[in-house]
């Protein structure tokens, strides 16, 4: 199941990279994050990080933009970590809200790492617009994950100790 979600996340990432970015570079809907968050819900923490790593590393390799690993991996790991923390610890908070928070964190960290790497804060001027796109992306991704969690059969869900429900 981890392999399947990794493959689908990678395909979604590659398809998205064929389209021009929304408004500014780095601004994408992040449809591949649906499968990463879904892995966190369905399969647990290690699998979700595995899907994230596969998507970022292989996606950067196949799109010919290896340098994007520097930005995407730490941002993705941090936002996924916070999303999973909220998912497992926060009661009565919807997946959609968690996804929005994760999305904002993702664009902020990517932008911050980018500024560190280029040794200039000039790119921070795009952060407000990226944050807006992040809110929209988070809403769409969160809604998609919520829908999948509701509609997918219960037999797919795995307990923390690896036993299927």
């Amino acid at each position: 199941m981890t392999g399947l979600l990794s493959a689908v996340a990678l395909i979604a990432f590659m398809l998205e990279s064929l389209f021009p970015p929304l408004v500014i570079p780095g601004a994408r809907m992040g449809i591949s994050n649906v499968f990463i968050l879904l892995a966190g819900v369905l399969l647990g923490v290690p699998s979700s990080f595995c899907v994230l790593t596969v998507k970022v590393v292989l996606g950067s390799l196949f799109s010919g933009n290896l340098s994007s690993i520097m930005y995407s991996l730490p941002a993705g790991a941090l936002s996924l970590g916070v999303e999973l923390l909220l998912l497992y610890l926060a009661k009565n908070v919807s997946i959609i809200a968690i996804s929005v928070v994760g999305s904002i964190l993702n664009v902020t960290v990517q932008n911050a790492v980018f500024c560190l790497v280029t040794e200039t804060a000039a790119y921070l001027v795009y952060l407000p617009y990226l944050a807006l796109v992040g809110v929209l992306a988070g809403l769409i991704v969160g809604f998609a994950v919520w829908l999948c969690v509701k509609k997918l059969p219960a037999s797919l869900f795995v307990e923390n100790d690896g036993q299927k429900n």
Binding site: S63, T120, V125, Y126, L127, E159
Partner: protein, 159 residues
């Protein structure tokens, strides 16, 4: 994930009242970002731009001057076209790997219009620099375009 939490997620609605706390935090963050980077900063006119490859200066162009000043090590890799207001920077000896920079002295703007960097070509889709802030960065080529500061700032020494 525990059965109880799982059942809760599957039975959940798309919105809970507690979401308001998170949405409020997000809203405040976005407002603060807009205030800090868009609304309040003083924007100065762009006098020109500098092009860097890594830490190395490739060339500098001031909009009031007809030609760019190119670093010694880049003289055979930079192609300037004054008619179309473009600067082409090559990264290989075969001259197949390049970035094409277009500028408009009247609008005092600069952008990358063509590149052979990667599939996504983020540098081409970056908005033009029109003021004293902003930056265009091409990661695969490690190329960076930054504005010269407004108000009589000294441009970097080239050559």
């Amino acid at each position: 994930m525990k059965q109880e939490r799982l059942n809760g997620l599957r039975a959940s609605k798309p919105f809970h009242i507690n979401d308001l706390i998170l949405y409020l935090a997000v809203f405040i963050t976005v407002v603060v970002l807009f205030c800090a980077f868009v609304i309040f900063p003083n924007k100065k006119e762009n006098d020109g731009f500098s092009v860097f490859c890594g830490d190395e200066i490739v060339c500098v162009l001031e909009f009031d001057s007809p030609t760019p000043t190119v670093s010694d090590g880049w003289l055979d890799k930079v192609q300037f076209d004054g008619t179309h207001n473009t600067i082409k920077i090559f990264f290989d000896d075969a001259k197949t790997d390049y970035n094409l920079i277009s500028f408009d002295p009247a609008k005092r703007s600069v952008r990358i219009t063509e590149s052979t960097c990667s599939l996504s070509k983020d540098c081409v889709y970056t908005p033009a620099i029109t003021g004293s802030d902003g930056m265009i960065f091409c990661a695969p080529h490690n190329l960076r375009i930054t504005p010269l500061s407004g108000g009589g700032a000294i441009p970097p020494i080239v050559g």
